[in-house]
């Protein structure tokens, strides 16, 4: 909402107030002022002049040399390129050394001809092109004939004004009108408000004699009034009216349309003007549209209506979409003489849905959607009639054609001052509360220590006690509220067990050298199931903004791999990222997708890069596995996690493992398939993803100290030749099974599968550690245990080296 302070001061005394101070007051007490625009900013020395004589520029086919009268002894020569320049025009010019748009205009020569300044268009004077009257959109602005030459053009154009740009929240639709803003400002300043005059003469003929109104859709149109004005002379609006509209961001059109727009701005009540003769039937019928019914709206578009849309008809066919836009065929034109002014109350939701259906949001629909003041429907129509008489020379038929079943009673709220104070934590007296509500022009009575309030119908947002609390607080001032903290029982706060473990996992992974990444949950249909841990239906948006963000992810990896590619293609060759986030699988009984928290990681490039000491370690399967193992150790899962060779789409078939918890698959790790690496512009890259909820839910044993060994342990190495496909984990299991109680540790210390090996064989060497906490082991005990291990291994087909 753009508020001209000159316009506003018609209703409230703003004398002696700086615009910035007023803006601050308005912001602090309720409505945010998002901008303060001084219209004369960057403009100096502009003057009204009259073009006395025009000559073609000898060296140009579009420039004219104008002799301009500024009421001085001599005419001033100004070269002008505007196509609409003509002798006799009253124009606005910047004089030499004046400014427009903050730029200085000097005396100069244009293609050899002296030019003392510049004749201006409205755009050059800082007025937005979209509100400049069409007639002057591509040329200089022409003032009315009666404007005196030599006058300061800032005054003549009404640029001695300041516009406040209000950022309105949806509850404050009352401030979508100048009068609404005036009530607000008057309350803030403790001033009185002057309402506009609507009195006008009316002819003997009654409006009812020429027009009938019938409302069929009463529940969505409880009030419809029409005034009829005859002998209207369509023309340009007076300057003051055009200036008001331009200041409010509306383009002046002709006097009738301008008047309806002016009243829309002044009262917040949308009006529509019909050409009475074009209606053709002397009748207005309001009803719901028929499914598929066509209408050509005044923007020239052919539109198709549905049965939920409310239309104004002439009894035969739609002539307007109620509250949204008028029809093309009943529009006021230059030839119109009799005008029907509609002022009505349409249901907000109906207008909202219709505007949405037609993709048509207008100043009118915006106001209906949020609810107009039931008590302004009639005054707005009367005000329009008054202005039509005054400005367009119209003859107002007496009375109005009215259908009215609208409830106009104000909302009644009863509040106790204690309630207000207990909600705010303040001690405001009853009298102070009454004063504030009176400033807001609420009707207040007090009885039994309670406030009985009739909220004015313009304030549709006031319904309950809490609304009154807010009104009192905002005008009393939020600065006056003390700062306290909640009293009463207090419990220790904290993370729950799940959250605490998740944080631990974050910190562990970061400490392992992986940066935490955040990627989008929405992805393409194509990527949504890639690398998913399970097969489940996907969840897709009804109306995606793009195919790229249309479907919820079932795996974190695709986007995380993209992030790694992003880095690698920017010379970051070594990248390690992880992400913890939700994936979305199938559907639960509630109808929502099952959200599962996953952990994913991607690593590529060098893991260790210590150039000057010549240490380089490329990321490989075991780097990533080692990071996971230390995470599992932290979570007390070491003995419960196992790995098995796996095949996962998109991963290297020989370098991929399933991760199992208590034998159940919870995730995988492996190298990206070389083809995937190539497609993503990556070198050797390792990835993993697992179900985080499973590893967090796995219980952790209490931590109990184990005595530090007092007796030495004894180690034996054993080297085995086995098939290349034999798994170290299987060998270890054989060893552990055979080793008995004394065998404490089994560690791989060597792996060889080179040339010296028979084809298809490899050598794996283990260190076995024997230990008992009770005593020093004897050789015999160790030999006995170790022999069993060797026997078991031999039996399993391993060959001792």
């Amino acid at each position: 909402m753009l508020v001209s302070l000159k316009w506003l001061s018609q209703y409230v005394d703003l004398q002696g107030l700086e615009a910035e101070d007023l803006a601050e007051k308005i912001t602090r007490s309720g409505i945010e002022v998002e901008g303060v625009h001084h219209l004369s900013k960057g403009i100096k020395k502009i003057m009204v002049g009259q073009i006395k004589e025009i000559k073609k520029h000898p060296d140009s086919d579009h420039l004219n040399i104008c002799q301009v009268d500024f009421g001085e002894d001599e005419l001033s020569q100004i070269v002008c390129g505007a196509p609409n320049v003509a002798e006799g025009q009253k124009i606005v010019a910047v004089r030499p050394n004046g400014y427009v748009g903050g730029k200085k205009i000097k005396k100069g020569k244009l293609r050899g001809e002296v030019s003392n300044g510049m004749i201006c268009s409205l755009q050059e004077l800082g007025i937005e092109g979209k509100v400049v009257p069409k007639k002057y959109a591509d040329g200089i602005y022409v003032l009315p004939e009666e404007t005196p030459v030599g006058m300061d053009a800032i005054k003549a154009l009404g640029l001695d004004d300041v516009i406040l740009e209000l950022g309105l929240t949806p509850n404050r639709s009352d401030a979508m009108s100048m009068l609404g803003v005036a009530y607000e400002v008057a309350a803030i300043l403790s001033e009185e408000i002057k309402l506009p005059e609507t009195a006008h003469e009316e002819s003997a003929q009654k409006a009812e004699e020429v027009l009938k109104v019938r409302v069929e859709a009463k529940d969505v149109n409880p009030m419809y009034t029409a005034k009829v004005v005859k002998n209207v002379k369509i023309g340009e609006s007076p300057l003051w009216l055009q200036q008001r509209l331009m200041a409010a961001g509306v383009r002046p059109l002709n006097n009738v349309v301008d008047i309806t727009n002016y009243i829309l701005m002044e009262y917040g009540q949308p009006l529509h003007a019909f050409d009475y003769d074009a209606l053709g039937t002397g009748e207005i019928v309001v009803r719901l549209a028929k499914e598929g019914e066509p209408i050509k709206t005044l923007d020239g578009q052919d539109r198709v209506l549905n049965a939920k849309n409310l239309v104004i008809t002439n009894g035969k066919e739609p002539v307007a979409v109620a509250g949204v836009m008028g029809g093309y065929d009943s529009e006021v034109t230059d030839k119109t003489t009799t005008v029907v002014i509609e002022s009505a109350y349409f249901d907000g939701l109906t207008v909202r849905y219709t505007a949405k259906d037609l993709g048509l949001r207008s100043e009118a629909s915006a106001r209906y959607e949020k609810g107009v003041d039931p008590n302004r429907v009639i005054p707005a129509a009367e005000r329009a009639a008054q202005l039509l008489a005054e400005i367009a020379g119209g003859e107002v038929l007496s009375g109005a054609v009215v259908f009215d079943e609208l409830d106009k009673t104000p909302a009644k709220v009863v509040v106790s001052p204690d309630f207000v104070n207990s909600r705010l934590g303040m001690k405001i007296s009853l009298n102070e509360m009454v004063t504030i509500l009176t400033r807001l022009k609420f009707d207040v009575e007090t009885a039994n220590g309670l406030l009985y309030i009739d909220a004015p119908t313009r304030r549709q947002d006031i319904k309950i006690e809490e609304d009154i609390v807010e009104e009192i607080a905002r005008l009393y001032g939020y600065d006056e509220i003390p700062a306290t903290v909640p009293v009463g029982e207090s419990k220790a706060g904290g993370l729950n067990a799940y959250q605490a473990k998740r944080r631990l996992i974050h910190h562990q992974l970061q400490g392992s050298g992986l940066y935490q990444a955040l990627t989008y949950s929405l992805t393409s249909d194509e990527l949504s199931q890639k690398y998913a841990l399970e097969t489940a239906p996907t969840t897709r948006l009804l109306m995606p903004m793009s195919e790229e963000r249309s479907t919820l992810r079932q795996s974190i990896l695709p986007h995380l791999i993209e992030s790694v590619t992003y880095n690698v293609s920017r010379q970051q060759d070594s990248v390690a990222l992880y992400e913890i986030g939700s994936v979305f699988l199938g559907e639960t009984e509630e109808g929502l997708p099952r959200e599962e928290s996953h952990l994913a990681a991607v690593m590529t490039g060098n893991w260790l890069n210590n150039a000057w000491q010549g240490e380089h370690k490329k990321v490989d399967f075991f780097v990533l596995k080692g990071i996971l193992e230390s995470l599992f150790a932290k979570l007390d899962l070491t003995t419960r996690i196992t790995y098995e060779t796996a095949v996962v789409d998109g991963l290297h078939p020989g370098r991929t493992a399933n991760i199992l918890l208590d034998g159940k698959r919870i995730g995988f790790l492996g190298q990206l398939h070389p083809a995937e690496q190539k497609a993503n512009g990556l070198k050797e890259t390792y990835v993993m993803e697992l179900n985080l909820e499973e590893i967090i839910a796995a219980s952790i044993e209490p931590l109990v100290y184990v005595p530090v060994p007092r007796f030495p342990s004894i180690s034996r190495d054993i080297a085995l030749i086995v098939d290349r496909t034999t798994k170290a984990a299987d060998l270890e299991a054989t060893i552990r099974n055979a080793g008995g109680k004394l065998l404490k540790e089994v560690n791989v210390f060597d792996l060889y599968e080179g040339e010296k090996m028979e084809l298809g064989k490899k050598s794996v060497a283990f260190t076995l550690t024997y230990f008992t906490p009770e005593r020093t082991l004897t050789d015999e005990e160790v030999v006995a245990a170790h022999d069993k291990v060797v026997a078991a291994l031999t039996e399993s087909g391993a060959e001792l080296r």
Partner: protein, 347 residues
């Protein structure tokens, strides 16, 4: 006395040799050559049998005296050479201490996580619990339970990704508040709700279709607006500096009444006016208010007996303000050169 002369000569000779040694090895050779069992001193002692009996003790004492003296000089020389050897060893082992150390890989949290954890911890210290909820929500929890019935004009404020008529991507973390109230069944509580939220926005420098929010909710008997103000004051000072001031401005949210927006005095210029605060001295940080009675009663609380306050903010905005990040897309690009800047600690 040929033998005495011989002894003196021998002594001078051996001392000269010992002094000339340059390392322990040479010294050992000299020692073996002169003081060993086959050395000239031993020979001299052996040759004493040829002397008259009365001269033997005197001569024996003299030889032993020389032997002791030589031994002493040898020992001193040995100590010197050993010391010298150690020095040489140390010199050889000297390193360039200015060379870089062996890298230890440690990464860090995403800046949004950093901000969220900081806020979580602050409110946890004030007795709050952390509550979370689904990112895909029912229209009911996202809107209706928050006093935003279908067709409410305020639904325009949040353009929504719908999945079906009743299911959507949550547009704020407030549904967690609605769910928590429903679960707590009338009990008083304090929660903070961080999470991802989604809006139909084109991604640009200031908009992101996915972003994060963190909201707080306190419900109980006699919760006052002054409690909200005091709580936000603590938050502002802890998060943005002890000398921060806050101010509340009236605003509108369908789920609170009264509703306010909180500004803090600019932490960059202290209120004088600068680019960060757009020359107003104040920076808008969050929205807040007293829980709307409709929201309370829909969750089964009696708004006559129980009241509450709620607040919500955007970690992206806070991170952008705090760290001067100029483009919201940085948070979702995961450029390591960006992420790694949030490694170090701050005062």
């Amino acid at each position: 006395m040929a033998m005495i002369e011989q002894l003196t000569q021998l002594k001078e000779e051996v001392i000269e040799k010992i002094t000339a040694t340059e390392n322990i090895k040479q010294l050992n050779e000299v020692r073996v050559a002169y003081l060993g069992k086959k050395g000239p001193i031993t020979d001299l002692l052996k040759g004493m049998g040829k002397l008259p009996v009365e001269e033997r003790p005197k001569m024996g004492a003299l030889v032993n005296e020389v032997r002791a003296e030589v031994q002493h000089i040898h020992d001193v020389r040995k100590a010197t050479l050993e010391e010298q050897a150690i020095q040489e060893q140390l010199e050889k082992e000297a390193i360039d201490v200015t060379l870089p150390g062996r890298p230890v890989k440690v990464a860090n949290a995403h800046p949004l996580t950093r901000v969220i954890e900081e806020i979580e911890d602050l409110f946890i210290s004030m007795g709050y619990e952390v509550a979370e909820g689904p990112e895909v929500e029912k229209d009911y929890y996202n809107f209706e339970a928050l006093n935003l019935p279908k067709g409410h004009p305020a639904r325009d404020m949040q353009d929504t990704f719908y999945i079906s008529e009743e299911i959507l991507m949550r547009t704020h973390t407030s549904p967690v508040q609605a769910r928590t109230m429903e679960k707590k069944q009338g009990a008083s509580f304090k929660i903070i709700c961080p999470g991802k939220v989604f809006r139909r926005d084109n991604d640009d420098a200031t908009h992101s279709h996915q972003f994060t929010q963190i909201e707080g909710l306190v419900v109980g008997e006699n919760i006052r607006m002054s409690d909200l103000k005091g709580t936000l004051d603590i938050f502002a000072k802890k998060m943005f500096g002890e000398d921060r001031e806050i101010r509340l401005r009236p605003s509108f949210f369908p789920f609170t009444e009264p509703s306010v927006e909180m500004d803090i005095s600019c932490f960059k210029c202290g209120g004088e006016g600068c680019n960060v605060c757009k020359h107003t001295g104040w920076i808008e940080i969050l929205g807040a208010g007293m829980v709307h009675p409709n929201v309370l009663s829909m969750a089964g609380y009696d708004p006559k007996k129980v009241s509450g306050f709620a607040f919500g903010m955007g970690p992206e905005r806070i991170a952008m303000l705090k760290y001067g990040v100029d483009d919201i897309r940085h948070f979702y690009t995961n450029d390591v050169r960006f992420l790694s800047q949030f490694h170090r600690t701050e005062e």
